[in-house]
């Protein structure tokens, strides 16, 4: 069946076969924003994902009520991936649905694909683009320059509209692309983890601000603990240590809310005793 699917895929480039207009595919990109509508830990994006694509399935299965029931039910299974990548994924899957690819193939594909894509998407959108755009805009805004928020908004408006070409991309790539991605999904998620963790390492150094004002020694031998000792060992050593303290607490099954409490208590204590 998989081979049938890919054969169909090969015949696809001749666009006239598509039952969807260009405008409809564009709207698919816009509708991909709905995935988080009914987010719950039980199914995450499933209801929103189904909602977003429903009109298209209605068209495909307009003379086949059983088909519509089947596709709706199938898609109510748990899924979670990176929202900005959904336009591509929806485009890809829509092609398959339109070509009546075997449902089990589609399901297997979703399982193999969506996890790794979440890793890649998060590494790119949450950990790289957002801190960079946010950081640059914030550095402009900090001086009271309104170009800061304007710039930020402009970038994300652009990303919003980019969902439209991405949906077209996914829809046109068709099933062939899926084969390639699926085959490499383990390798892709390995690479995504590397990217993600490198960036997080960089973010820890850039965004967590901890610096002692304490001095040690007496008389002539006074040195600043931060500048003459810690900073000479390694810069940002405190932020790194603190993140790993919190990490260790989490590993010990401490509730995340306590991490914020610990942070506040520590900060206020350090302020009180004048060490920071």
């Amino acid at each position: 069946m998989a081979s049938e699917a890919s054969e169909v895929g090969k015949n696809k480039p001749s666009k006239r076969k598509s039952i969807f207009t260009n405008h409809e595919i564009s709207m698919l990109g816009i509708r991909s924003n709905l995935v988080q509508a009914s987010f719950s830990y039980e199914r995450m994006h499933a209801p929103g994902w189904t909602w977003a694509q429903l009109p298209y399935w209605e068209k495909i299965y307009k003379d086949d009520p059983k088909g519509l029931k089947r596709v709706m039910t199938d898609n109510m299974e748990f899924i979670n991936s990176s929202p900005p990548l959904y336009p591509i994924l929806m485009g890809l899957l829509l092609t398959m649905e339109e070509d009546h690819v075997e449902p089990t193939t589609i399901k297997g594909l979703k399982n193999a694909l969506f996890g790794p894509m979440a890793g890649i998407g998060d590494a790119i959108f949450w950990f790289t683009i957002m801190p960079i755009v946010g950081g640059i805009s914030a550095s402009i805004a900090k001086n009271g320059n309104a170009l800061g928020p304007v710039l930020f908004f402009a970038v994300y408006l652009f990303l919003f509209w980019s969902r439209i070409p991405l949906a077209h991309l996914g829809y046109n790539l068709g099933t062939k692309a899926i084969d390639v991605i699926q085959e490499n999904s383990k390798v892709i998620s390995h690479a995504a983890s590397i990217l993600g963790l490198t960036v997080i390492g960089g973010l820890i150094a850039s965004y967590v601000k901890m610096s002692l004002t304490l001095k040690i020694g007496a008389g002539n031998s006074v040195i600043s603990l931060q500048k003459q000792l810690l900073d000479k060992i390694f810069p940002n050593i405190l932020p790194f240590a603190f993140v790993f303290l919190l990490y260790w607490l989490l590993k010990k099954k401490v509730n995340p809310i306590w991490l914020i409490v610990v942070t506040f208590v520590l900060a206020i204590l350090m302020s009180f005793i004048g060490w920071m």
């Binding site: 709905l34 988080q36 509508a37 009914s38 719950s40 830990y41 499933a46 209801p47 429903l54 009109p55 519509l68 029931k69 709706m72 949450w126 801190p131 960079i132 950081g135 914030a138 402009i140 805004a141 001086n143 800061g148 928020p149 930020f152 908004f153 994300y156 919003f160 490499n184 390798v187 390995h190 690479a191 983890s193 590397i194 990217l195 963790l197 490198t198 960036v199 997080i200 390492g201 973010l203 150094a205 965004y207 967590v208 601000k209 390694f234 810069p235 940002n236 790993f244 919190l246 990490y247 989490l250 590993k251 914020i260 942070t263 506040f264 520590l266 900060a267 206020i268 204590l269 302020s271």
Partner: protein
């Protein structure tokens, strides 16, 4: 200054719009840099809003919802930072710390929804099984409306109704406490990173975390793009390497299976 009723209502409207965006992650106007700016506009002090936006954006850098987690809410934090700074004449840096309890309350409301919205799932399943597209679509509006209203109400209460006690509280705070809140704002991103690490960190990825940390600490550049690019370089190298290795594994397995079949 004090917040007027009109301003309170405008803030509620702002909270509803950006809160909905926060729920859907569509336009990213739920980020502090936008929320603060718009709040500043409503309160008639754009400049304050912009500055507070810059500072709050940085403090929330690590606190992403990646992996389905739910961090302190940026909409409430954005609104309240500006409100507190404007009504109490505190510096925005301190106001971030003071706004955090509001952000955390909203976080907990949303977490409650994340759990309780699973109640709708059986209905969704039913409509799916019936192929009832119309009802399925309509049902999706319910959570959206709940979330949107919650944002509006909670923001109105926090920004308008709670003004007096907030004022009293801030005025009575000693200097070390406000400084403590400022410090907390700077340390806050650590929480988000620790939560991410819990999801993502496996022993074999630790070296890359270290790599990113060392590079960012050694080159003093204004953003993490260099680190991300180097991370991308290592990721790509590993990608090609791992593909080669899995090809080999495949071949070995083929041979192995071949042997087994020979044996039959």
């Amino acid at each position: 200054m004090t917040i007027t009723l009109v301003q309170g209502l405008l803030i509620a409207l702002l909270a509803m719009i950006t809160g909905l965006d926060c729920w859907l992650q569509a336009f990213f106007i739920f980020r502090p840099i936008i929320v603060c700016t718009l709040t500043g506009l409503i309160l008639g002090d754009l400049r304050l809003g912009v500055i507070a936006g810059g500072l709050t954006e940085l403090a929330f850098a690590g606190l992403t919802p990646a992996g389905g987690t739910q961090p302190p809410n940026t909409v409430l934090c954005g609104i309240m930072t500006v409100v507190i700074a404007a009504t109490n004449n505190t510096s925005p840096a301190t106001a971030i710390g003071l706004s955090l309890p509001f952000a955390m309350l909203m976080q907990y409301i949303l977490l409650f929804y994340y759990s309780s919205f699973s109640l709708f799932m059986s209905k969704f399943d039913k409509y799916a099984a019936e192929g009832n597209a119309q009802k399925f679509k309509r049902l999706n509006f319910v959570p959206l409306i709940i979330v949107t209203l919650s944002f509006g109400i909670f923001a109105f209460l926090s920004a308008y109704a709670a003004q007096a006690p907030m004022h009293a509280l801030v005025n009575s705070m000693p200097q070390w406490l406000t400084h403590g809140f400022e410090l907390a704002g700077g340390i806050l991103p650590a929480v988000g990173f620790a939560m991410l690490l819990k999801v993502m960190l496996k022993p074999r990825y630790f070296p890359y975390l270290l790599l990113g940390f060392v590079i960012a600490s050694m080159i003093s550049f204004s953003n993490v793009l260099p680190v991300a690019l180097i991370g991308g370089v290592f990721a790509a190298i590993e990608y090609f390497r791992t593909r080669e290795v899995s090809d080999l594994k495949e071949q070995i397995k083929d041979i192995d299976n071949g042997d087994d079949q020979d044996g039959i």
